[in-house]
Amino acid sequence: MLDDTRETRITPIGPPKRNPWYLLTGAVLGLILGLVYAWLINPVVYGSSTPGTLGEADKDFYRATIAQVYASTGDLDRALLRLTLLEDPDPVYALGAQAQRALAAGRDAEAHALALLASALQGPPEQQKNNTQPSPPQPSPTNLPPGAPTHTLPVPTAAP
């Protein structure tokens, strides 16, 4: 067959078939926009929180108020219930540490109230013996020389 008589067939070119990747791109783009809007621009606002979610400064204020109320009323059960709301891992440690901070800041009355509540929570020695919860090792009493400085506030234990 001669070249000039060869039949050439041209297949009609239709619209090119495109991959649907653009749909995935749009979905991912929308997802990112949605998350930015939901987390940053217009996040969920909680209108009913608990004292346990308060910031540290507010928790300190709340704790000090509880201690002051206990110092004036002597109602330990109610103070304990209120302290539980703050969800401190170790309420006695939290009270002692805050008492030391208040003492350092010159707020003696507040420090006294906090220390009073901390010592009341520790309870009498008989009650501590019956306590089944594990407690950090306590320092053993030593014979101090006269005039040696002693702790006036609960000794803070190591944070977990």
Partner: protein, 118 residues
Amino acid sequence: MKSRTWRFVFFALAILAGFAAGLGYGWAINPVQYRSTGPHTLQIDYQTDYVLMVAELYQAEGDLAMALARLGFLGDTPPLVMMNDAIGFADAQRYAAADLGLMRSLAFAIQQALEGME
């Protein structure tokens, strides 16, 4: 419609679907967790208990200015409104009469002070 136009329509629909999924995830499934909320967001029962604490301290100290300062912890709501809300809640929840009396006493003192200022 042309094929190109349909592609834009589907692209926009995909963005909308992704946006809706993002909102659902960000608001319902995994919303922002606040770790440091303010006292003004406390539930009414916790606010009422705090107001009761302030009333107990006012009973012991008799210091109205300090009581007002302590009430300010709960936000910018006027103290008398705050007291009335707390008393209303405490009344509905059948708080002890002594506790209600303390709160009413503080509310009365605040009201007297406000009337004295006018």
